[in-house]
Symmetry: C2
Subunit: 282 residues, 2 copies
Amino acid sequence: METVLARLLPGAQIAPARLHAAMRYATLEGGKRVRPLLTFAAGEVAQARPERLEVAAAAVELIHAYSLVHDDLPCMDDDVLRRGKPTAHVEYDEATALLVGDALQSLAFQLLAEHPLADDPSAQLEMVKLLAVAAGSRGMAGGQQIDLEAVGKALSVPELESMHIHKTGALIRAAVLLGAACGNGHDAALRERLDQYAKTVGLAFQVVDDLLDHDASTANLGKTAGKDSRQGKPTYVSAMGLARARELARELRHNALQAVAPLGPPARRLRELADFIVLRKF
Amino acid sequence: METVLARLLPGAQIAPARLHAAMRYATLEGGKRVRPLLTFAAGEVAQARPERLEVAAAAVELIHAYSLVHDDLPCMDDDVLRRGKPTAHVEYDEATALLVGDALQSLAFQLLAEHPLADDPSAQLEMVKLLAVAAGSRGMAGGQQIDLEAVGKALSVPELESMHIHKTGALIRAAVLLGAACGNGHDAALRERLDQYAKTVGLAFQVVDDLLDHDASTANLGKTAGKDSRQGKPTYVSAMGLARARELARELRHNALQAVAPLGPPARRLRELADFIVLRKF
């Protein structure tokens, strides 16, 4: 994935060089790459060609990278550390970081439009729409807005779930469905299973993030630990307590594995990723 | 165009309501709508259907609206007045304004992907790519970066031209070419003429902006006047003097009219727009 992203991002020598260097800084050498891994794993179930999955996975990861850059800005979370490095606006400047996020989003859609990803171009337009909806005001950006408004409030568990379905779930779902769409993932039954899997691992991802934020040290996370609870953001730990949050993570892992169990051996990586998402320590 | 944008933007009552209200605030009731007018005018030459042009024009205008919201943020131009109203981050808050821009960009690509705009879906994918490249690091966002780095510098006229070809020219070109692509605009000779027209009116637009910024009052412009020169940004007036800048605007108008002269009566609106862009007083 590093090689793919390094190839698809404009070179740091291409003008405007500072912007391109900053786009590469914010995207390369960091992150767990969970979303690209999900794209590849879902693509395996749908017998998708790797060269298509590379592009779809990169597009999803660029949207994710842009959201982190904007999320770290002083007017949002005002964070200085991301993926073990200074955040983009600290390493460069705020205005450049703003443009980095903007340009990474454009590049994601450029990639989905310019590479052949589906046998039928109409299906590829559907892929563009899927990512746009997942990134937009009724997806990830909308989730960020709900998050902004939730600071200092005690959300109920369903409210918390709705926030995360938008904020992280929508893009994780897009990662899975785009992987399937690169192959024969238009089969309604397969899509339904993958959708269920994606929804479940998406929530699991957030529950575990909250558990790690509660438990871990900054060094292990590569980002500032304990931040959400200190900033008065509701978390699964604050909403339901530590023990119940841990139990929920286990349940969600079980449900994710159940959802793809009938898909047999080709779903091995999807199962491994459900395990990784819940059992990870960073 | 107001009706179209009002219909295509999510309603202000749809959750997250504050984000959707702010997206509508930043987009509706304001602006000259030069880019949508160019899309419609180019579409007329290519016999494009109005319902396609509406969507393409809206997508371009959403990209433009997002760029204004981000450009006005404190870390960029730090402006408080836009289109005669408080800027989005003043009316709402900085974090919401950041998300407004992000979500408007996603929505632009969603619109281009979800509505039928071309007989051939492959051609429609090309339209998505065209807008993505025009908006991204080698288009508008790249131009903003060049602009950031130009503050306080004395640019040569070719350097100034290169900045504006990216910053405003790329999106104006996309507005024209997307309009043509909604119809039979794939003819190479027609495309070449429209490209020449777009490049010329794009530059003319910027030269006239600089002249108006030099001459006009804030009340007439609907945005803060005299700002660029006060912020130490190079302008055509500062780079070549008032008289030569006025002459350049006239030359560019002439060249734009020449470029589309062979297209005859269907190019009437393109000619009217070249006149409007150069002769406007706001």
